[in-house]
Symmetry: C2
Subunit: 332 residues, 2 copies
Protein backbone atom coordinates (compact mmCIF):
# COMPACT_ATOMS: atom_id res chain seq x y z
CA UNK A 1 0.00 0.00 0.00
CA UNK A 2 1.73 3.12 -1.19
CA UNK A 3 -0.03 6.47 -1.55
CA UNK A 4 0.89 9.03 -4.21
CA UNK A 5 2.18 12.31 -2.78
CA UNK A 6 1.68 15.15 -2.13
CA UNK A 7 -1.73 15.32 -0.49
CA UNK A 8 -4.70 17.61 -0.26
CA UNK A 9 -5.92 17.15 3.33
CA UNK A 10 -9.68 16.83 3.61
CA UNK A 11 -11.10 18.06 6.92
CA UNK A 12 -14.76 17.52 5.96
CA UNK A 13 -17.19 19.03 8.40
CA UNK A 14 -15.02 18.29 11.45
CA UNK A 15 -16.85 19.47 14.57
CA UNK A 16 -13.66 20.50 16.32
CA UNK A 17 -9.88 20.48 16.03
CA UNK A 18 -9.62 17.05 17.68
CA UNK A 19 -11.73 15.43 14.93
CA UNK A 20 -9.01 16.46 12.47
CA UNK A 21 -6.09 15.12 14.50
CA UNK A 22 -5.01 12.71 11.75
CA UNK A 23 -4.70 15.59 9.28
CA UNK A 24 -2.85 17.56 11.96
CA UNK A 25 -0.46 14.62 12.41
CA UNK A 26 0.27 14.43 8.69
CA UNK A 27 0.91 18.18 8.59
CA UNK A 28 3.14 18.08 11.71
CA UNK A 29 5.25 15.10 10.69
CA UNK A 30 5.34 15.36 6.91
CA UNK A 31 4.70 19.00 5.98
CA UNK A 32 6.35 18.42 2.60
CA UNK A 33 3.64 15.89 1.77
CA UNK A 34 0.84 18.48 2.10
CA UNK A 35 -0.17 21.14 -0.43
CA UNK A 36 -3.31 22.42 1.28
CA UNK A 37 -6.50 21.73 3.18
CA UNK A 38 -10.08 21.36 1.99
CA UNK A 39 -12.92 22.17 4.38
CA UNK A 40 -16.66 21.76 3.94
CA UNK A 41 -19.27 24.15 5.24
CA UNK A 42 -19.57 23.84 9.01
CA UNK A 43 -15.98 22.69 9.50
CA UNK A 44 -14.59 23.96 12.80
CA UNK A 45 -11.06 22.61 12.35
CA UNK A 46 -8.12 24.40 10.78
CA UNK A 47 -4.66 22.88 10.53
CA UNK A 48 -3.05 26.04 9.20
CA UNK A 49 -2.64 25.08 5.56
CA UNK A 50 -3.93 27.09 2.61
CA UNK A 51 -7.58 26.38 1.80
CA UNK A 52 -7.79 24.97 -1.72
CA UNK A 53 -10.37 23.70 -4.15
CA UNK A 54 -9.67 20.39 -5.82
CA UNK A 55 -8.59 22.14 -9.01
CA UNK A 56 -6.22 24.42 -7.14
CA UNK A 57 -4.74 21.47 -5.29
CA UNK A 58 -4.31 19.53 -8.52
CA UNK A 59 -2.50 22.50 -10.02
CA UNK A 60 -0.27 22.72 -6.96
CA UNK A 61 0.74 19.10 -7.63
CA UNK A 62 -1.58 17.14 -5.30
CA UNK A 63 -2.02 13.47 -6.22
CA UNK A 64 -4.17 12.18 -3.35
CA UNK A 65 -7.00 13.58 -1.26
CA UNK A 66 -6.51 12.25 2.27
CA UNK A 67 -9.53 12.21 4.56
CA UNK A 68 -7.62 12.95 7.77
CA UNK A 69 -10.75 13.34 9.83
CA UNK A 70 -13.27 11.29 11.80
CA UNK A 71 -16.61 10.98 10.04
CA UNK A 72 -19.58 11.77 12.25
CA UNK A 73 -21.48 8.70 13.37
CA UNK A 74 -19.29 6.52 11.15
CA UNK A 75 -21.30 7.44 8.06
CA UNK A 76 -20.10 8.89 4.77
CA UNK A 77 -22.47 11.87 4.49
CA UNK A 78 -23.87 13.12 1.18
CA UNK A 79 -21.75 16.26 1.41
CA UNK A 80 -18.62 14.12 1.92
CA UNK A 81 -19.47 11.74 -0.90
CA UNK A 82 -20.10 14.57 -3.35
CA UNK A 83 -16.76 16.21 -2.58
CA UNK A 84 -14.84 12.92 -2.67
CA UNK A 85 -16.49 12.13 -6.00
CA UNK A 86 -15.36 15.52 -7.28
CA UNK A 87 -11.80 14.69 -6.17
CA UNK A 88 -11.78 11.44 -8.14
CA UNK A 89 -13.20 13.25 -11.15
CA UNK A 90 -10.58 15.96 -10.73
CA UNK A 91 -7.75 13.44 -10.96
CA UNK A 92 -6.95 12.67 -7.31
CA UNK A 93 -6.71 9.29 -5.61
CA UNK A 94 -8.51 8.93 -2.28
CA UNK A 95 -7.07 7.69 1.01
CA UNK A 96 -8.73 7.28 4.39
CA UNK A 97 -8.27 5.40 7.64
CA UNK A 98 -11.95 5.05 8.50
CA UNK A 99 -13.60 1.96 9.94
CA UNK A 100 -16.02 1.83 7.02
CA UNK A 101 -14.37 1.74 3.64
CA UNK A 102 -14.69 4.45 1.02
CA UNK A 103 -14.51 1.67 -1.58
CA UNK A 104 -17.79 0.31 -0.21
CA UNK A 105 -19.62 3.51 -1.19
CA UNK A 106 -20.98 2.49 -4.62
CA UNK A 107 -20.75 5.95 -6.19
CA UNK A 108 -17.11 6.30 -5.13
CA UNK A 109 -16.16 2.82 -6.29
CA UNK A 110 -17.75 3.47 -9.68
CA UNK A 111 -16.15 6.89 -9.99
CA UNK A 112 -12.71 5.45 -9.20
CA UNK A 113 -13.20 2.87 -11.93
CA UNK A 114 -14.51 5.38 -14.43
CA UNK A 115 -11.76 7.91 -13.84
CA UNK A 116 -8.95 5.38 -13.39
CA UNK A 117 -8.20 6.43 -9.82
CA UNK A 118 -7.31 4.43 -6.69
CA UNK A 119 -9.00 4.36 -3.30
CA UNK A 120 -6.82 3.41 -0.32
CA UNK A 121 -8.69 2.35 2.81
CA UNK A 122 -5.52 2.07 4.86
CA UNK A 123 -7.17 0.43 7.86
CA UNK A 124 -7.93 -2.59 5.69
CA UNK A 125 -4.82 -4.34 4.31
CA UNK A 126 -5.18 -4.97 0.59
CA UNK A 127 -2.16 -7.29 0.36
CA UNK A 128 -1.59 -10.76 1.74
CA UNK A 129 1.51 -11.47 3.82
CA UNK A 130 3.73 -14.50 4.36
CA UNK A 131 3.98 -16.35 7.66
CA UNK A 132 6.84 -14.88 9.72
CA UNK A 133 10.16 -16.70 9.33
CA UNK A 134 11.93 -15.35 12.41
CA UNK A 135 15.14 -15.25 10.37
CA UNK A 136 17.66 -12.63 11.49
CA UNK A 137 17.93 -9.76 9.04
CA UNK A 138 20.49 -6.97 8.66
CA UNK A 139 19.93 -3.44 9.95
CA UNK A 140 18.77 -2.25 13.36
CA UNK A 141 15.25 -1.83 14.67
CA UNK A 142 13.74 0.19 17.49
CA UNK A 143 10.21 -0.45 18.79
CA UNK A 144 8.25 1.58 21.34
CA UNK A 145 6.19 -0.67 23.61
CA UNK A 146 3.49 0.48 25.98
CA UNK A 147 1.95 -0.17 29.34
CA UNK A 148 -1.33 0.40 27.48
CA UNK A 149 -2.88 1.39 24.15
CA UNK A 150 -2.78 5.05 23.12
CA UNK A 151 0.04 6.14 25.38
CA UNK A 152 2.32 7.83 22.85
CA UNK A 153 4.00 5.02 20.90
CA UNK A 154 3.44 6.52 17.43
CA UNK A 155 4.42 9.99 18.53
CA UNK A 156 7.57 8.65 20.22
CA UNK A 157 8.55 6.69 17.11
CA UNK A 158 8.07 9.66 14.80
CA UNK A 159 10.03 11.91 17.17
CA UNK A 160 12.91 9.42 17.31
CA UNK A 161 12.98 9.15 13.51
CA UNK A 162 13.08 12.95 13.21
CA UNK A 163 15.84 13.29 15.83
CA UNK A 164 17.94 10.59 14.18
CA UNK A 165 17.64 12.22 10.76
CA UNK A 166 18.53 15.58 12.34
CA UNK A 167 21.68 13.97 13.73
CA UNK A 168 22.55 12.68 10.26
CA UNK A 169 21.77 9.06 11.03
CA UNK A 170 19.88 6.66 8.78
CA UNK A 171 16.35 6.05 10.03
CA UNK A 172 12.91 5.17 8.65
CA UNK A 173 9.61 5.25 10.53
CA UNK A 174 7.59 2.10 9.70
CA UNK A 175 3.86 2.60 10.12
CA UNK A 176 1.71 -0.15 11.63
CA UNK A 177 -1.55 1.78 12.10
CA UNK A 178 -3.84 3.90 9.96
CA UNK A 179 -2.61 7.32 11.10
CA UNK A 180 1.01 6.31 10.66
CA UNK A 181 0.26 4.99 7.18
CA UNK A 182 -1.43 8.23 6.14
CA UNK A 183 1.52 10.21 7.54
CA UNK A 184 4.20 8.27 5.68
CA UNK A 185 2.14 7.04 2.73
CA UNK A 186 2.88 3.35 3.37
CA UNK A 187 2.83 0.58 5.97
CA UNK A 188 0.39 -1.99 7.25
CA UNK A 189 -2.49 -1.73 9.70
CA UNK A 190 -1.22 -4.72 11.64
CA UNK A 191 -4.25 -5.16 13.86
CA UNK A 192 -6.30 -5.76 10.71
CA UNK A 193 -4.18 -8.54 9.18
CA UNK A 194 -5.16 -12.18 9.61
CA UNK A 195 -3.81 -13.49 12.93
CA UNK A 196 -1.44 -16.03 11.38
CA UNK A 197 0.47 -13.28 9.58
CA UNK A 198 1.09 -10.65 12.28
CA UNK A 199 4.84 -11.22 12.57
CA UNK A 200 5.15 -11.93 8.82
CA UNK A 201 3.59 -8.55 7.96
CA UNK A 202 6.13 -6.75 10.15
CA UNK A 203 9.00 -8.67 8.57
CA UNK A 204 7.77 -7.35 5.19
CA UNK A 205 7.42 -3.68 6.15
CA UNK A 206 10.71 -3.55 8.09
CA UNK A 207 12.98 -5.60 5.80
CA UNK A 208 16.73 -6.18 5.83
CA UNK A 209 18.65 -2.92 5.53
CA UNK A 210 22.13 -1.40 5.85
CA UNK A 211 23.90 -2.35 9.09
CA UNK A 212 23.77 1.20 10.47
CA UNK A 213 20.19 1.90 9.40
CA UNK A 214 17.46 2.09 12.04
CA UNK A 215 13.88 1.14 11.33
CA UNK A 216 11.70 2.88 13.91
CA UNK A 217 8.71 0.55 13.98
CA UNK A 218 5.42 1.96 15.25
CA UNK A 219 4.23 0.01 18.30
CA UNK A 220 0.66 -1.19 18.90
CA UNK A 221 -1.34 -2.16 21.96
CA UNK A 222 0.34 -3.66 25.01
CA UNK A 223 1.30 -7.11 26.25
CA UNK A 224 -0.88 -6.20 29.24
CA UNK A 225 -4.01 -5.38 27.26
CA UNK A 226 -6.39 -8.35 27.38
CA UNK A 227 -7.93 -7.41 24.03
CA UNK A 228 -4.87 -6.73 21.89
CA UNK A 229 -1.81 -8.50 23.35
CA UNK A 230 -1.74 -10.98 20.45
CA UNK A 231 -1.01 -8.11 18.07
CA UNK A 232 1.70 -6.72 20.37
CA UNK A 233 3.32 -10.17 20.65
CA UNK A 234 3.48 -10.73 16.89
CA UNK A 235 4.75 -7.20 16.43
CA UNK A 236 7.60 -7.78 18.91
CA UNK A 237 8.55 -11.04 17.16
CA UNK A 238 8.34 -9.62 13.63
CA UNK A 239 10.28 -6.46 14.48
CA UNK A 240 13.22 -8.43 15.98
CA UNK A 241 13.80 -5.24 17.92
CA UNK A 242 17.35 -4.40 18.99
CA UNK A 243 16.09 -1.51 21.10
CA UNK A 244 12.83 -1.00 22.99
CA UNK A 245 11.45 2.25 24.39
CA UNK A 246 8.92 2.03 27.20
CA UNK A 247 5.88 4.30 26.68
CA UNK A 248 3.52 5.28 29.48
CA UNK A 249 0.87 7.86 30.37
CA UNK A 250 1.39 8.47 34.12
CA UNK A 251 -2.10 9.67 35.06
CA UNK A 252 -3.99 6.73 33.60
CA UNK A 253 -5.83 4.69 36.23
CA UNK A 254 -6.82 1.59 34.24
CA UNK A 255 -6.22 -0.11 30.90
CA UNK A 256 -7.97 1.71 28.06
CA UNK A 257 -11.47 0.31 27.57
CA UNK A 258 -11.01 -2.20 30.41
CA UNK A 259 -11.99 -0.48 33.69
CA UNK A 260 -11.44 -3.76 35.61
CA UNK A 261 -7.75 -3.99 34.58
CA UNK A 262 -5.08 -1.89 36.36
CA UNK A 263 -1.96 -0.66 34.59
CA UNK A 264 1.12 -2.88 34.99
CA UNK A 265 4.14 -1.76 36.97
CA UNK A 266 6.77 -0.28 34.64
CA UNK A 267 9.38 -2.85 35.64
CA UNK A 268 6.94 -5.74 35.03
CA UNK A 269 6.08 -4.30 31.65
CA UNK A 270 9.75 -4.05 30.72
CA UNK A 271 10.51 -7.57 31.89
CA UNK A 272 7.58 -9.06 29.94
CA UNK A 273 8.53 -7.23 26.75
CA UNK A 274 12.18 -8.26 27.01
CA UNK A 275 11.11 -11.85 27.51
CA UNK A 276 8.85 -11.90 24.43
CA UNK A 277 11.23 -9.88 22.24
CA UNK A 278 14.22 -12.04 23.12
CA UNK A 279 12.73 -15.00 21.21
CA UNK A 280 13.68 -13.41 17.88
CA UNK A 281 16.47 -11.14 19.14
CA UNK A 282 18.27 -12.30 22.29
CA UNK A 283 20.28 -9.05 22.38
CA UNK A 284 17.22 -6.81 22.76
CA UNK A 285 17.45 -4.11 25.46
CA UNK A 286 15.60 -1.04 26.68
CA UNK A 287 17.20 2.23 25.56
CA UNK A 288 14.80 4.73 27.05
CA UNK A 289 11.38 5.56 28.45
CA UNK A 290 8.92 8.01 26.95
CA UNK A 291 6.10 9.57 28.95
CA UNK A 292 3.06 11.54 27.89
CA UNK A 293 3.13 14.13 30.70
CA UNK A 294 0.64 16.48 29.03
CA UNK A 295 -1.75 16.16 32.00
CA UNK A 296 0.95 17.33 34.47
CA UNK A 297 2.20 20.85 35.19
CA UNK A 298 5.68 21.70 33.91
CA UNK A 299 7.55 21.43 37.23
CA UNK A 300 5.62 18.31 38.19
CA UNK A 301 6.39 16.76 34.80
CA UNK A 302 10.12 17.49 34.94
CA UNK A 303 10.36 16.12 38.48
CA UNK A 304 8.51 13.02 37.35
CA UNK A 305 10.89 12.46 34.43
CA UNK A 306 13.89 12.87 36.72
CA UNK A 307 12.41 10.36 39.14
CA UNK A 308 11.80 7.87 36.31
CA UNK A 309 15.34 8.37 35.01
CA UNK A 310 16.69 7.38 38.42
CA UNK A 311 14.22 4.57 38.96
CA UNK A 312 14.67 2.88 35.57
CA UNK A 313 18.30 3.79 34.89
CA UNK A 314 17.32 4.94 31.40
CA UNK A 315 16.91 8.27 29.58
CA UNK A 316 13.37 9.41 30.49
CA UNK A 317 11.74 11.87 28.11
CA UNK A 318 8.46 13.41 27.03
CA UNK A 319 8.75 13.77 23.23
CA UNK A 320 6.72 16.99 23.29
CA UNK A 321 8.14 18.60 26.43
CA UNK A 322 11.80 17.56 26.32
CA UNK A 323 12.33 15.95 22.92
CA UNK A 324 13.91 12.55 22.50
CA UNK A 325 17.57 13.52 22.00
CA UNK A 326 18.50 11.95 25.35
CA UNK A 327 17.45 8.55 23.95
CA UNK A 328 18.97 8.98 20.49
CA UNK A 329 22.31 10.39 21.76
CA UNK A 330 23.00 7.23 23.74
CA UNK A 331 21.98 4.83 20.99
CA UNK A 332 24.88 2.79 19.63
Amino acid sequence: MKLKKPYLLFLGDAGDQLAAKTAQGIRDWRPDNCVGQLRLEGCNADIGLKDMTIDEAREAGARTLVAGVANRGGLISKAWAAKLHEALEGGLDLAAGLHNRLIDVPELREAAENFGRNIFDVRHPAETFPVGSGEKRAGKRLLPVGTDCSCGKMYTALAIEREMLKQGRKATFRATGQTGILITGEGVSVDAVVADFISGAIEVIAPANEPDHWDIVEGQGSLFHASYAGVSTGLLHGAQADALVLCHEPTRTHMRGLPHYPLPELEDCMEANLKVASLTNPKVRFVGASFDTSRLEEDEALAFLEEMHKRLGLPAVDPVRTGVAAIVNDLA
Copy 2:
Protein backbone atom coordinates in the same frame (compact mmCIF):
# COMPACT_ATOMS: atom_id res chain seq x y z
CA MET B 1 -20.46 -21.63 11.99
CA LYS B 2 -22.49 -24.73 12.77
CA LEU B 3 -22.57 -27.80 10.52
CA LYS B 4 -25.64 -30.02 10.16
CA LYS B 5 -25.08 -33.58 11.32
CA PRO B 6 -24.60 -36.43 10.62
CA TYR B 7 -21.93 -36.47 7.94
CA LEU B 8 -20.96 -38.44 4.88
CA LEU B 9 -17.14 -38.38 4.97
CA PHE B 10 -15.59 -37.69 1.58
CA LEU B 11 -12.12 -39.22 1.14
CA GLY B 12 -11.74 -38.16 -2.50
CA ASP B 13 -8.78 -39.73 -4.23
CA ALA B 14 -6.59 -39.69 -1.09
CA GLY B 15 -3.19 -41.10 -1.99
CA ASP B 16 -2.72 -42.74 1.40
CA GLN B 17 -4.26 -43.08 4.84
CA LEU B 18 -2.44 -39.97 6.14
CA ALA B 19 -4.13 -37.77 3.53
CA ALA B 20 -7.48 -38.71 5.12
CA LYS B 21 -6.43 -38.00 8.70
CA THR B 22 -9.11 -35.34 9.19
CA ALA B 23 -11.82 -37.86 8.25
CA GLN B 24 -10.15 -40.37 10.54
CA GLY B 25 -10.22 -37.82 13.36
CA ILE B 26 -13.92 -37.17 12.87
CA ARG B 27 -14.62 -40.90 12.88
CA ASP B 28 -12.45 -41.52 15.98
CA TRP B 29 -13.81 -38.66 18.08
CA ARG B 30 -17.41 -38.35 16.90
CA PRO B 31 -18.45 -41.73 15.45
CA ASP B 32 -22.11 -40.84 16.00
CA ASN B 33 -21.70 -37.93 13.58
CA CYS B 34 -20.71 -40.24 10.70
CA VAL B 35 -23.02 -42.37 8.53
CA GLY B 36 -20.49 -43.55 5.96
CA GLN B 37 -17.56 -42.79 3.68
CA LEU B 38 -17.43 -41.86 0.00
CA ARG B 39 -14.32 -42.70 -1.99
CA LEU B 40 -13.43 -41.83 -5.58
CA GLU B 41 -11.57 -44.09 -7.95
CA GLY B 42 -7.90 -44.30 -6.98
CA CYS B 43 -8.55 -43.63 -3.29
CA ASN B 44 -6.05 -45.53 -1.13
CA ALA B 45 -7.52 -44.52 2.23
CA ASP B 46 -10.17 -46.35 4.20
CA ILE B 47 -11.42 -45.20 7.59
CA GLY B 48 -13.54 -48.28 8.20
CA LEU B 49 -16.98 -46.84 7.54
CA LYS B 50 -19.52 -48.24 5.11
CA ASP B 51 -18.98 -47.04 1.53
CA MET B 52 -22.05 -45.12 0.42
CA THR B 53 -23.32 -43.23 -2.57
CA ILE B 54 -24.77 -39.80 -1.95
CA ASP B 55 -28.32 -41.15 -2.23
CA GLU B 56 -27.60 -43.95 0.24
CA ALA B 57 -26.04 -41.48 2.67
CA ARG B 58 -29.01 -39.13 2.33
CA GLU B 59 -31.34 -42.02 3.08
CA ALA B 60 -29.24 -42.93 6.12
CA GLY B 61 -29.85 -39.39 7.37
CA ALA B 62 -26.67 -37.56 6.26
CA ARG B 63 -27.02 -33.77 6.12
CA THR B 64 -23.47 -32.69 5.22
CA LEU B 65 -20.70 -34.07 3.03
CA VAL B 66 -17.43 -33.33 4.82
CA ALA B 67 -14.25 -33.30 2.73
CA GLY B 68 -11.97 -34.72 5.42
CA VAL B 69 -9.04 -35.05 3.13
CA ALA B 70 -6.13 -33.06 1.70
CA ASN B 71 -6.61 -32.15 -1.95
CA ARG B 72 -3.62 -32.95 -4.14
CA GLY B 73 -1.63 -29.87 -5.10
CA GLY B 74 -4.20 -27.63 -3.41
CA LEU B 75 -6.53 -27.85 -6.41
CA ILE B 76 -10.16 -28.93 -6.57
CA SER B 77 -9.93 -31.54 -9.33
CA LYS B 78 -12.69 -32.13 -11.88
CA ALA B 79 -13.51 -35.48 -10.31
CA TRP B 80 -13.88 -33.81 -6.89
CA ALA B 81 -15.97 -30.95 -8.24
CA ALA B 82 -18.35 -33.32 -10.04
CA LYS B 83 -18.92 -35.40 -6.90
CA LEU B 84 -19.30 -32.35 -4.65
CA HIS B 85 -21.77 -30.91 -7.13
CA GLU B 86 -23.72 -34.16 -7.00
CA ALA B 87 -23.79 -33.91 -3.19
CA LEU B 88 -25.31 -30.41 -3.31
CA GLU B 89 -27.84 -31.59 -5.87
CA GLY B 90 -28.61 -34.61 -3.71
CA GLY B 91 -29.51 -32.42 -0.74
CA LEU B 92 -26.28 -32.28 1.29
CA ASP B 93 -24.42 -29.24 2.56
CA LEU B 94 -20.65 -29.20 1.98
CA ALA B 95 -17.94 -28.61 4.57
CA ALA B 96 -14.17 -28.53 4.15
CA GLY B 97 -11.09 -27.21 5.92
CA LEU B 98 -9.00 -26.60 2.81
CA HIS B 99 -6.77 -23.58 2.21
CA ASN B 100 -8.67 -22.76 -0.98
CA ARG B 101 -12.39 -22.36 -0.52
CA LEU B 102 -15.03 -24.59 -2.05
CA ILE B 103 -17.23 -21.49 -2.30
CA ASP B 104 -14.70 -20.01 -4.72
CA VAL B 105 -15.34 -22.80 -7.23
CA PRO B 106 -17.99 -21.14 -9.44
CA GLU B 107 -19.90 -24.32 -10.27
CA LEU B 108 -20.16 -25.23 -6.56
CA ARG B 109 -21.20 -21.75 -5.51
CA GLU B 110 -23.90 -21.70 -8.17
CA ALA B 111 -25.09 -25.19 -7.31
CA ALA B 112 -25.34 -24.27 -3.62
CA GLU B 113 -27.48 -21.26 -4.54
CA ASN B 114 -29.64 -23.23 -6.96
CA PHE B 115 -30.29 -26.11 -4.58
CA GLY B 116 -30.53 -23.99 -1.43
CA ARG B 117 -27.55 -25.65 0.26
CA ASN B 118 -24.71 -24.24 2.40
CA ILE B 119 -20.96 -24.49 1.90
CA PHE B 120 -18.80 -24.22 5.03
CA ASP B 121 -15.14 -23.45 4.44
CA VAL B 122 -14.27 -23.80 8.09
CA ARG B 123 -10.71 -22.49 7.77
CA HIS B 124 -12.18 -19.11 6.81
CA PRO B 125 -14.32 -17.52 9.54
CA ALA B 126 -17.61 -16.30 8.13
CA GLU B 127 -18.59 -14.30 11.20
CA THR B 128 -17.13 -11.17 12.72
CA PHE B 129 -16.15 -11.12 16.38
CA PRO B 130 -16.06 -8.46 19.09
CA VAL B 131 -12.86 -7.18 20.66
CA GLY B 132 -12.05 -9.22 23.77
CA SER B 133 -13.34 -7.74 27.02
CA GLY B 134 -11.20 -9.73 29.44
CA GLU B 135 -14.20 -9.87 31.79
CA LYS B 136 -14.29 -12.86 34.12
CA ARG B 137 -16.98 -15.35 33.15
CA ALA B 138 -18.48 -18.30 35.00
CA GLY B 139 -17.48 -21.91 34.36
CA LYS B 140 -14.03 -23.48 34.18
CA ARG B 141 -11.67 -23.71 31.24
CA LEU B 142 -8.72 -25.95 30.42
CA LEU B 143 -6.27 -25.16 27.64
CA PRO B 144 -3.43 -27.32 26.30
CA VAL B 145 -0.36 -25.22 25.44
CA GLY B 146 2.63 -26.43 23.50
CA THR B 147 6.37 -26.12 23.22
CA ASP B 148 5.67 -26.05 19.47
CA CYS B 149 2.95 -26.36 16.82
CA SER B 150 1.57 -29.81 16.02
CA CYS B 151 2.62 -31.51 19.23
CA GLY B 152 -0.69 -33.05 20.31
CA LYS B 153 -2.77 -30.17 21.67
CA MET B 154 -5.98 -31.05 19.82
CA TYR B 155 -5.68 -34.74 20.56
CA THR B 156 -5.01 -34.01 24.24
CA ALA B 157 -8.03 -31.71 24.46
CA LEU B 158 -10.35 -34.25 22.83
CA ALA B 159 -9.05 -37.02 25.08
CA ILE B 160 -9.61 -34.90 28.19
CA GLU B 161 -13.16 -34.07 27.09
CA ARG B 162 -13.88 -37.77 26.50
CA GLU B 163 -12.40 -38.80 29.86
CA MET B 164 -14.35 -36.11 31.71
CA LEU B 165 -17.62 -37.17 30.09
CA LYS B 166 -16.81 -40.81 30.92
CA GLN B 167 -16.39 -39.78 34.56
CA GLY B 168 -19.79 -38.07 34.44
CA ARG B 169 -18.42 -34.56 34.53
CA LYS B 170 -19.64 -31.65 32.40
CA ALA B 171 -17.22 -30.87 29.59
CA THR B 172 -17.24 -29.42 26.07
CA PHE B 173 -14.40 -29.42 23.58
CA ARG B 174 -14.15 -25.99 21.90
CA ALA B 175 -12.56 -26.14 18.47
CA THR B 176 -10.11 -23.44 17.35
CA GLY B 177 -8.79 -25.06 14.16
CA GLN B 178 -10.24 -26.57 11.02
CA THR B 179 -9.96 -30.22 12.02
CA GLY B 180 -11.48 -29.56 15.42
CA ILE B 181 -14.34 -27.65 13.80
CA LEU B 182 -15.09 -30.51 11.41
CA ILE B 183 -14.98 -32.99 14.31
CA THR B 184 -17.42 -31.08 16.51
CA GLY B 185 -19.35 -29.21 13.84
CA GLU B 186 -18.62 -25.77 15.28
CA GLY B 187 -15.88 -23.43 16.49
CA VAL B 188 -13.57 -20.83 15.00
CA SER B 189 -10.34 -21.15 13.05
CA VAL B 190 -8.62 -18.65 15.31
CA ASP B 191 -5.47 -18.21 13.24
CA ALA B 192 -7.68 -16.92 10.42
CA VAL B 193 -9.53 -14.19 12.33
CA VAL B 194 -8.40 -10.57 12.10
CA ALA B 195 -5.60 -9.93 14.60
CA ASP B 196 -7.58 -7.46 16.72
CA PHE B 197 -10.21 -10.09 17.51
CA ILE B 198 -8.18 -13.15 18.57
CA SER B 199 -9.11 -13.04 22.24
CA GLY B 200 -12.63 -11.81 21.45
CA ALA B 201 -13.29 -14.83 19.20
CA ILE B 202 -12.28 -17.20 22.00
CA GLU B 203 -14.52 -15.38 24.48
CA VAL B 204 -17.40 -16.04 22.05
CA ILE B 205 -16.78 -19.76 21.48
CA ALA B 206 -16.10 -20.55 25.16
CA PRO B 207 -18.78 -18.42 26.85
CA ALA B 208 -19.95 -18.27 30.46
CA ASN B 209 -21.23 -21.62 31.66
CA GLU B 210 -22.28 -23.54 34.80
CA PRO B 211 -19.73 -23.25 37.63
CA ASP B 212 -18.78 -26.96 37.41
CA HIS B 213 -18.66 -27.10 33.60
CA TRP B 214 -15.29 -27.39 31.88
CA ASP B 215 -14.63 -25.97 28.45
CA ILE B 216 -11.69 -27.84 26.97
CA VAL B 217 -10.35 -25.24 24.55
CA GLU B 218 -8.20 -26.46 21.67
CA GLY B 219 -4.74 -24.87 21.82
CA GLN B 220 -2.85 -23.40 18.85
CA GLY B 221 0.78 -22.70 18.09
CA SER B 222 3.22 -21.87 20.87
CA LEU B 223 4.43 -18.77 22.69
CA PHE B 224 7.87 -19.88 21.47
CA HIS B 225 6.98 -20.06 17.79
CA ALA B 226 8.21 -16.90 16.05
CA SER B 227 5.50 -17.16 13.38
CA TYR B 228 2.39 -17.81 15.47
CA ALA B 229 2.92 -16.63 19.06
CA GLY B 230 0.46 -13.77 18.58
CA VAL B 231 -2.33 -16.29 18.07
CA SER B 232 -1.25 -18.31 21.13
CA THR B 233 -1.16 -15.13 23.24
CA GLY B 234 -4.66 -14.02 22.28
CA LEU B 235 -5.91 -17.57 22.80
CA LEU B 236 -4.49 -17.66 26.34
CA HIS B 237 -6.08 -14.31 27.14
CA GLY B 238 -9.46 -15.14 25.62
CA ALA B 239 -9.67 -18.58 27.22
CA GLN B 240 -9.05 -17.21 30.75
CA ALA B 241 -7.77 -20.70 31.44
CA ASP B 242 -8.06 -22.07 34.97
CA ALA B 243 -5.97 -25.08 34.03
CA LEU B 244 -3.15 -25.52 31.52
CA VAL B 245 -1.73 -28.78 30.17
CA LEU B 246 1.77 -28.70 28.74
CA CYS B 247 2.07 -30.53 25.37
CA HIS B 248 5.38 -31.67 23.92
CA GLU B 249 6.83 -34.06 21.35
CA PRO B 250 10.09 -35.27 22.92
CA THR B 251 12.02 -36.21 19.76
CA ARG B 252 11.61 -32.91 17.98
CA THR B 253 14.91 -31.09 17.41
CA HIS B 254 13.72 -27.65 16.32
CA MET B 255 10.56 -25.55 16.08
CA ARG B 256 8.30 -26.72 13.27
CA GLY B 257 9.16 -24.89 10.05
CA LEU B 258 11.95 -22.92 11.77
CA PRO B 259 15.16 -24.98 11.63
CA HIS B 260 17.12 -22.12 13.26
CA TYR B 261 14.94 -22.13 16.41
CA PRO B 262 15.47 -24.73 19.16
CA LEU B 263 12.63 -26.03 21.33
CA PRO B 264 12.21 -24.23 24.68
CA GLU B 265 12.92 -25.96 27.97
CA LEU B 266 9.71 -27.35 29.45
CA GLU B 267 10.03 -25.23 32.59
CA ASP B 268 10.61 -22.05 30.57
CA CYS B 269 7.57 -22.87 28.46
CA MET B 270 5.43 -23.36 31.56
CA GLU B 271 6.65 -20.16 33.17
CA ALA B 272 5.97 -18.10 30.04
CA ASN B 273 2.47 -19.52 29.63
CA LEU B 274 1.59 -18.92 33.27
CA LYS B 275 2.81 -15.35 32.97
CA VAL B 276 0.70 -14.59 29.89
CA ALA B 277 -2.37 -16.50 31.11
CA SER B 278 -2.32 -14.84 34.51
CA LEU B 279 -3.28 -11.48 32.97
CA THR B 280 -6.89 -12.63 32.53
CA ASN B 281 -6.89 -15.36 35.21
CA PRO B 282 -4.42 -14.90 38.08
CA LYS B 283 -5.38 -18.32 39.50
CA VAL B 284 -4.22 -20.26 36.42
CA ARG B 285 -2.08 -23.33 37.09
CA PHE B 286 -0.65 -26.34 35.27
CA VAL B 287 -2.57 -29.55 35.93
CA GLY B 288 -0.63 -31.98 33.77
CA ALA B 289 1.74 -32.63 30.90
CA SER B 290 0.90 -34.55 27.74
CA PHE B 291 3.56 -36.07 25.51
CA ASP B 292 3.36 -37.52 22.03
CA THR B 293 5.69 -40.50 22.59
CA SER B 294 4.74 -42.29 19.37
CA ARG B 295 8.33 -42.17 18.14
CA LEU B 296 9.62 -43.95 21.27
CA GLU B 297 9.51 -47.67 22.13
CA GLU B 298 7.05 -48.69 24.86
CA ASP B 299 9.57 -49.12 27.71
CA GLU B 300 11.44 -45.99 26.69
CA ALA B 301 8.17 -44.04 26.56
CA LEU B 302 6.97 -45.19 29.97
CA ALA B 303 10.34 -44.41 31.54
CA PHE B 304 10.24 -40.98 29.92
CA LEU B 305 6.75 -40.26 31.30
CA GLU B 306 7.84 -41.33 34.79
CA GLU B 307 10.87 -39.07 34.55
CA MET B 308 8.68 -36.13 33.44
CA HIS B 309 6.24 -36.80 36.26
CA LYS B 310 9.07 -36.50 38.78
CA ARG B 311 10.71 -33.55 37.07
CA LEU B 312 7.57 -31.44 36.66
CA GLY B 313 5.63 -32.61 39.69
CA LEU B 314 2.55 -33.12 37.49
CA PRO B 315 0.64 -36.06 36.02
CA ALA B 316 2.56 -36.93 32.83
CA VAL B 317 0.63 -38.82 30.16
CA ASP B 318 0.56 -39.81 26.51
CA PRO B 319 -3.13 -39.61 25.52
CA VAL B 320 -2.76 -42.59 23.15
CA ARG B 321 -0.46 -44.79 25.24
CA THR B 322 -1.69 -44.15 28.79
CA GLY B 323 -4.86 -42.11 28.44
CA VAL B 324 -5.42 -38.87 30.29
CA ALA B 325 -7.24 -40.14 33.41
CA ALA B 326 -4.25 -39.20 35.59
CA ILE B 327 -4.83 -35.55 34.69
CA VAL B 328 -8.63 -35.61 34.94
CA ASN B 329 -8.71 -37.54 38.25
CA ASP B 330 -6.74 -34.81 40.01
CA LEU B 331 -8.73 -31.94 38.55
CA ALA B 332 -10.76 -30.04 41.15
